[in-house]
């Protein structure tokens, strides 16, 4: 616990470093110019939203597999992670469409990556509506977890199978316009630093939220004991 608390504090150094590197150290991309700098925010944010999704999926699997209840509040961790994931998914969509507007001229054109992030968004929305419908229901943790697992399993069907079966649906040249930009070493290392710092940022928020959840439960239990 102490070790995690200490480790996630590195975000206070990592994040400013990533920001300064992204603006000053990394050279502008050849085709896109300085607008490419949004990459150092957009890519890590997208990565965090997928990471949060996977973490909540894994926490859900563990929650259902762990019938003895030896790990407490795994469903709460899944819920918190999904909450962070939802925010980051929205941010990914916003930054992504700004970038798309700058480089392709349109805010939205349903390429595979945009499609998959929107599906993640829909899954989160569905997850929160089902959680909301069961505010005081004992089944809440299990049903929400089962839904997240089911959703996580459908995702690969989008991400990998669909573009392969229907190549014509997704105009490749558009995605390649930014995928094939040459990344030099400085750009690559800046991106790496940004990804690491956003990941640590995510861990930091999740850690704090989990602790807050624990405190909340503790307070409510004590209040009832006082009755």
């Amino acid at each position: 616990m102490k070790a995690i608390s200490a480790a996630v504090k590195s975000v206070y150094i990592l994040m400013p470093a990533a920001i300064v590197m992204a603006f000053l150290w990394a050279p502008p991309a050849q085709v896109l110019g300085d607008s490419s700098r949004i990459m150092y925010f957009h890519v890590p944010i997208a990565w965090v939203s997928i990471l949060a999704f996977i973490v909540s999926g894994i926490a859900s699997i563990l929650f259902l597999a762990d019938r003895k209840g030896s790990f407490a509040r795994l469903d709460g961790i899944a819920y918190n992670s999904a909450e962070i994931g939802l925010v980051f998914t929205v941010l990914t969509v916003i930054t992504g469409s700004i970038w798309a507007r700058i480089s392709w001229g349109v805010f939205w054109n349903w390429d595979p990556r945009e499609t998959s992030i929107v599906i993640i968004l829909l899954i989160y929305i569905a997850y929160f509506s089902i959680q909301g419908a069961m505010a005081h229901n004992d089944n809440r943790g299990r049903i929400g977890s089962a839904y997240l697992i089911l959703a996580m399993i459908t995702l690969p069907f989008f991400a990998f199978l669909v573009p392969r079966i229907y190549p014509s649906l997704h105009p490749d040249p558009i995605i390649n316009a930014d995928r094939t930009i040459f990344l030099d070493d400085r750009m690559r290392s800046t991106l790496a630093v940004a990804i690491v710092s956003f990941t640590v940022f995510y861990c930091n928020i999740l850690h704090i939220m989990n602790r807050m959840m624990k405190l909340q439960n503790h307070i409510e239990e004590n209040r009832h004991e006082a009755d």
Partner: protein, 97 residues
Amino acid sequence: MRLINILSCAVLLLPAAGAAIPADRAGEPSVTQSAAQVLHGQDMQKNAPSTEQKQEPSTTLYQVMGVVLFIWIGLAVFLFRLDRRVARLENRAQPKQ
């Protein structure tokens, strides 16, 4: 949850600000043109790179970096204080358990 609401507002500003200037610089040489105008104006992409290579340090880039850093510092202070407060509460809760 309150935490997540505040975070969402703050983090939302971070990349949006980052996006704004680059658009400006990538546009026509006139540095005074505002980011919003560029975003909503005509197309600004393909002709940009040729004029881009001057390496003349633009103040806009620094300004945006300043804004992003400022937002980050605010966020970091918020997170740090929250962390401290949670730790304090945890310490108070522990002996009773």
